[in-house]
């Protein structure tokens, strides 16, 4: 059972799919395959180390793939870590509160019949062979700016050049870094693009049209410039409304849709969030608004708040945010509805929603047409793709 469910756990080398780097795939295959390492994940390109804040499972406990087994904190984010493997937790190599480099051995999972000696051997071999990534050395692909449709668009491209592409489209006020827990996991056998929408992140701040249809043009321009004939589009919030708009207006460009907490599915939005997000320029005042995005406010770190402020400080960013907000929202009301057109989408549509979303209510996921599959994830808010990344990644990969 363990062999099938095993997934690469050493994410640091995900941009080099040929170099698995996984200690478990050593010569003693049959035996070793039953023993699996749990290593410090790489959440985002800048992560070099993380703190294991708390183990949630005891030694001897059977754990399932996707089960929350520990809390990990980095300077960017604090989040639950979901098990990449299934088996019995046999060792905790790192204790609560310890900080270790990305890729370091945190614990060992093995079938109950594997001997204690074999587990100890595994740990010893791993520790002897482990070389932490040099600080700042291998940072993987980095975001770059490209020209598309006469606009300057910042994007991060990962994965090989062949395979069915994925294009990630972020929501209002966000940028491509919102996919930091998703992009790497999906880029093993296909090209995965994440872009900054016009007016956002490192893309050009000038906007002609901030509506979903207007921004959809920019995404199609990007796909044209990159030679992407069609792609699986993953959109979040306003980005999901943009993705759905593309599927309706340019169906040949869309292989499938994963819509994460989409805008345009119901009449209302938390207008006070939009207003507060735009208005606040101080970290301490902005933070409560960002905490509205998640079910567990502990997830919002100072660096996350500062990253939002870094975008908002750019010349033209505030004007762009105001323009996008005005084009899409009117106080607590959404200006654009896609609900009546969803049945017309030819591509498979998967909607994912956090049960505790305080920006766009999960009630908008009710009563959708039959061609739309809905997954509601408990214990998550509006940025469910960050809060429950493994679940959302599995849905995207399976779509």
């Amino acid at each position: 059972m363990t062999v099938e469910s095993r997934r690469p756990t050493r994410i640091p080398n995900w941009w080099e799919p040929e170099d698995d780097g996984d200690k478990a795939s050593s010569p003693e295959e049959n035996h070793m395959a039953e023993i699996q390492p749990i290593t410090m994940p790489k959440w985002g390109l800048a992560m070099e180390e993380g703190m294991l804040a708390r183990w949630a499972v005891d030694i001897g406990t059977p754990i399932e793939l996707g089960q929350e087994i520990m809390d990990i904190e980095t300077s960017k984010i604090a989040n639950v870590f979901e098990s990449p493997v299934t088996g019995v937790l046999r060792r905790r190599v790192v204790a609560d509160g310890d900080t270790v480099p990305v890729g370091a051995l945190l614990g060992v999972v093995a079938a109950p019949e594997v001997s204690e000696e074999a587990v100890d051997d595994f740990v010893r071999t791993f520790l002897e062979g482990f070389v932490p990534e040099e600080a700042g050395a291998a940072s993987g692909p980095s975001a770059e700016t490209v020209e598309a449709g006469g606009r300057r668009i910042r994007r991060l491209k990962a994965g090989p050049d062949t395979g069915k592409p994925i294009v990630f489209i972020h929501g209002f006020g966000a940028d491509l870094s919102t996919w930091m827990l998703n992009q790497a996991a999906l880029a093993e056998d296909r090209p995965v693009h994440a872009i900054d929408l016009p007016g956002h992140g490192g893309s050009e701040k000038a906007l002609d049209d901030g509506s979903p249809a207007g921004l959809a043009t920019a995404v199609i321009d990007y796909m044209d410039a990159e030679g992407i004939e069609s792609a699986h589009l993953v959109g979040h919030s306003l980005g999901a409304a943009i993705a759905a708009t593309i599927a309706l207006d340019a169906p040949s460009r869309v292989d499938g849709l994963t819509l994460v907490a989409p805008a345009g599915f119901g009449p209302e939005i938390a207008g006070d969030f939009i207003a507060g997000f735009i208005a606040e320029s101080r970290a301490r005042k902005l933070r409560p608004w960002l905490e509205m995005l998640v079910a567990d406010p502990q997830m919002v770190t100072a660096e996350m708040v500062e990253d939002v402020l870094k975008f908002k400080r750019l010349d033209g960013a505030l004007a762009a945010l105001q323009a996008v907000a005005a084009a899409n929202f009117d106080g607590d009301a959404q200006r654009h509805s896609l609900r009546d057109r969803l049945a017309d989408i030819a591509a498979p549509v998967h909607v994912v929603w956090g049960a505790e979303d305080r920006i766009l209510s999960v009630a908008h996921a009710e009563g959708l047409p039959a061609n739309v599959t809905v997954t509601v994830i408990p214990g998550a808010g509006h940025i469910v793709h960050m809060e429950k990344a493994a679940d959302v990644n599995a849905l995207i990969a399976g779509a």
């Binding site: 703190m51 900080t99 490192g202 970290a283 100072a302 500062e306 870094k310 750019l314």
Partner: protein
């Protein structure tokens, strides 16, 4: 976004503001540089190469290489600001402030107040500070507490390249006189800095680390040392909040007091001398307004009350270092154990 040094970030801030607003001019000793050197329009770009490339791009009318007399060219820059320009004037080393201080203290800082708010003085004074450059006691001081003392001046201490670009753009756009302190040991420090212009507002501290045990308030270059100390301490299970106030005037007292209320312990790190400095100032602020939340006495990590030594060995000991910050945090935490033992 691309990797830029502190030097490049400062240069880019000036270039982008000069492109955006033709009222922005630059003046100072050797800002073009080159008397007697090859390429006399742009030989050096200042002693550290910070202003290199600006003279060829903007010409001698907007980039003025001045004579060696701070009293007149700093005064001229203040006057130019009053008439509607937005000058950036470079006081090469802050140690030279004595030569031109009346222009700053009694003129520049007072115009708006004494003219009943009818005059604005959008002047940016860029200046180098700090030890670690083997430049001896007349070229190594941290005199920002002197400027912070004077109402009417805004005082900025950028702690890295990102901060430097955004704070300098804010300084140039600000209608009040701003003294912008560049640490001479940081010019080669690189990090990701947006290519686009951006302004970081004054009086808003940056919380660079979040922790539960101790608040560390640090200034300028010391923010990096405090971050490093906090990261080392985190590996030992001690979590620190690090606050970079960014500007000493205006000062974000709210963030300092709130974070101290959360941790109950305070260490202040300042490269300046201890008497009448920012470290004592922050300690006083917290003692007055957050006394009840303190669980241990406040600890200050500063340079000694002595001139910066020329001996490299002594200079290294003189500068507050990561080890001293870690020791101060440990001492503050040790107070609990001592009290418990009694």
């Amino acid at each position: 976004m691309s990797k830029k040094s502190y030097r490049q970030a400062i240069n880019e801030a000036m270039r982008q503001e000069m492109e955006r607003d033709e009222r922005v001019i630059l003046m100072g000793e050797d800002v073009a540089g080159g008397t007697g050197a090859a390429g006399d329009q742009d030989a050096w770009g200042g002693p550290m190469g910070v202003t290199k490339g600006l003279r060829p791009q903007f010409g001698p009318d907007r980039v003025l290489d001045t004579h060696l007399a701070e009293i007149s060219f700093v005064g001229a820059a203040a006057g130019a600001a009053l008439t509607g320009l937005r000058p950036i004037v470079e006081l090469m080393f802050v140690d030279f402030m004595g030569v031109c201080f009346d222009q700053i203290l009694n003129q520049t800082a007072k115009f708006r107040y004494m003219f009943g708010g009818k005059a604005v003085t959008p002047l940016t004074i860029r200046t180098m500070y700090g030890a670690g450059f083997r430049a001896a006691s007349q070229h190594s001081q941290c005199l920002y507490p002197v400027f912070t003392h004077i109402p009417g001046l805004k005082v900025v201490l950028p702690s890295n390249a990102y901060e430097a670009k955004g704070l300098l753009i804010q300084a140039i756009r600000d209608d009040d006189p701003v003294v912008f302190f560049e640490h001479k040991a940081m010019y080669d420090d690189e990090m990701e800095v947006p290519d686009e212009p951006y302004a970081i507002p004054f009086g808003e501290a940056n919380v660079t680390r979040e922790g539960d045990d101790v608040t560390i308030v640090a200034f300028g270059r010391m923010v990096n040392f405090a971050n490093e100390a906090a990261d080392n301490l985190a590996r030992r299970g001690i979590s620190c909040t690090v606050v970079d106030p960014r500007t000493t005037s205006p000062l974000d007292t709210e963030t300092i007091l709130e974070t101290v209320a959360e941790t109950g312990r305070l260490v202040v790190v300042d490269e300046a001398h201890p008497r009448c400095g920012m470290a004592g100032d922050i300690a006083g602020l917290v003692a007055e307004h957050a006394f009840d939340s303190l669980k241990a006495p406040i600890k200050l990590v500063t340079a000694p009350h002595a001139p910066v030594p020329f001996s490299p060995a002594l200079e290294d000991i003189y500068i507050p270092g990561v080890d001293k910050i870690e020791a101060a945090v440990a001492a503050v935490l040790d107070h609990d154990r001592k009290v418990a033992a009694e």
